[in-house]
Amino acid sequence: MKILTYREAIIEALREEMERDPSIFIMGEDIGEHWQGSVKEFEGLWPQFGSERIRETPISETAILGCAVGAAMTGMRPIANIMFAAFLGVPMDEIFSQLTKMRYMFGGKTKMPVTIMCLSGGGMGAAAQHSVCLEGMLMSIPGLKLVSPSTPYDAKGLLKSAIRDDNPVVFFQNLFLTVSGFKGEVPDGEYTIPLGEAIVKREGDDVTVVAIGSRVHTALSAATRLEKENISVEVIDPRCMVPLDEKTIIDSVKKTGKLVILDEEPKTGSAASEIAAIIAEKAIEYLDAPIKRVCAPNTPVPFSPVLEKYWMPDEEDLITAVKIVI
């Protein structure tokens, strides 16, 4: 084992995969010689692989995604970098009318091995157009897979699987975990983590907390505090919203009888809402309290630190919700 930052683990995954498979290349803005990623999330790749495979683009998100579609259909395995998750709005047609529909509408004739990378989430004072999480919105698009890693270990193992997957995968690289230098253990050798396997981060008996992305760490911190009040919290990180490991969540709910979901998205149409619906549909008989969704309010992300703190679903919000259902 070694200790890597979240950012370093992601770079290591990219490097190893690009060394392994010459059909992989990355397209994006400011990923080349000078910046090597807007927060150095591709540092060291351009010096090693050069401008052909670390392909810097003009500010053309639509063309980046459109090109990825055309390249994926013709034998390449492109990684399309869209910098910030909020910028996915620009090439959204490429995502929901092309990338995810072509295989289906062509009767299975083509595969679409595209990985979309983007920086996701708030907490950085980056305001409404650079801070969003989009898991809930993108979950409604059949054909897409969604990865939201919360640790360096998961980030590396899941990114490698995402790149090798023959379907389009959106890899949400958490912005806060990237720039804060968040560290964790990563094995020395080769490993991958299958898409669609949740991980139980902490076992508990009284309540199941499902948390997504950076909120996993918020949930773990809350669980430690609640333990002191004799409330035993089981924390689950789904890691992928699509495919979603429903079984791990349902098994946990069978044990605890209570479910709280912590998600950094406005509540309406959030990933938390979909998880709540699934559990209500498939496991309501095991519940002995209402499901609680701890989400952001239905507003854009505000700028001022005071406002953003109020907006962000945090430890206090989670603890309050847990105590309501207990």
């Binding site: 639509t62 090109c67 492109p78 289906y104």
Partner: protein, 319 residues
């Protein structure tokens, strides 16, 4: 440009096949046998054949909603095409795509796409892929006059230009984006003038003449294959029918119809071939009959084919 008699006749036959296919589809749609939306390319056959007959088998084309002719020109099987239009299991896309989404990867035809403008960036990606794989393949991107007003046109051509990608963008300017005339939606006289913005060659062909298209697109293809980058070619043309079947075409001007009916690409090619002693009226009638019979066989194949099982709805979402 020297083309053999055999090749000229093959081009003529293919144009006639496209016209017969489209004309028969019009009837099947009117009869209620084909569901959905149908966009016919009658009048535009010279562009499909003139461009595509320059290609190697492994060169790519990316097609749009008015794309039946492109696939026929590329060598597609009209039985599978017709079956797809009828929504049958034996169709090119197993009944999941229909008229607007025909795709034939065995013929390097990367699908027809119903979002106007999307073919530009998809083709750019295919061109990038060919360049990265050093395969020396060229990609033809077909788009309409309407698509040349979308943002993708700008982003896609710019990217292809800065990376010298082996692509020829072919605007089939039939003057109407649905009901909107290009004189309303663009200030430039010729859409090929837009090439200047990307530092690439641009050319307009207004003859609807398959041989002129063959020659000029051929030069652009050679340029692309030699690593000299993309080109933009505008082929002015006219669709004899509406935007889609059912369109009453109230927006069309009588004078334009008169002008462009004289430039019917099959008519002018036929007259030329007869004048040059390559074709006779009798042979032309025989070719027409032969193509008509092929299309009738395709209709029979489509009608006799089974529908997909309803449960197939759930297949082909993920690989």
């Amino acid at each position: 440009m020297e083309l053999s008699k055999e090749k000229l006749l093959e081009m003529f036959k293919r144009m006639v096949l496209i016209r017969q296919f489209e004309t028969r589809v019009k009837k099947s749609f009117a009869d209620g046998d084909i569901p959905g939306f149908i966009h016919l390319s009658v009048g535009q056959e010279a562009i499909a054949v003139g461009s595509i007959f320059n290609l190697r088998d492994d060169d790519y084309i990316v097609s749009h909603h008015r794309g039946h002719g492109h696939l026929i020109a590329k060598g597609g099987d009209i039985n599978f095409m017709m079956a797809e239009l009828y929504g049958k299991k034996t169709g090119y896309c197993k009944g999941k795509g229909g008229s607007m989404h025909l795709a034939d990867f065995n013929h390097y035809m990367l699908g027809a796409h119903g979002i106007v403008g999307s073919t530009v960036t998809i083709a750019t990606g295919a061109g990038l892929s060919a360049k990265l794989r050093k395969s020396n393949q060229v990609t033809l991107s077909f788009l309409g006059d309407g698509a040349s007003n979308t943002g993708r046109f700008h982003e896609g051509l710019n990217l292809a230009a800065i990376w010298d990608l082996p692509i020829v963008y072919i605007i089939e300017n039939n003057f109407y984006a649905e009901s909107t005339h290009i004189s309303y939606s663009a200030r430039v006289k010729n859409l090929s003038e837009r090439a200047v913005a990307y530092g690439i060659p641009g050319e307009t062909i207004n003859s609807n003449d398959v041989l002129e298209i063959y020659e000029k697109v051929g030069k652009a293809i050679n340029r692309a294959r030699n690593g000299e980058g993309p080109s933009l070619i505008e082929c002015q043309t006219y669709r004899h029918f509406g935007h889609e079947e059912g369109d009453m075409e109230t927006y069309k001007k009588k004078i334009d119809i008169e002008i462009w009916m004289k430039k019917d690409p099959i008519k002018i090619f036929k007259e030329r071939l007869i004048k040059e002693g390559i074709l006779t009226e009798v042979e032309e009638e025989r070719i027409s009959e032969e193509m008509k019979n092929k299309v009738e066989e395709a209709v029979k194949f489509a009608k006799d084919s089974p529908y997909p099982d309803p449960e197939e709805t759930l297949e082909d979402v993920y690989a």
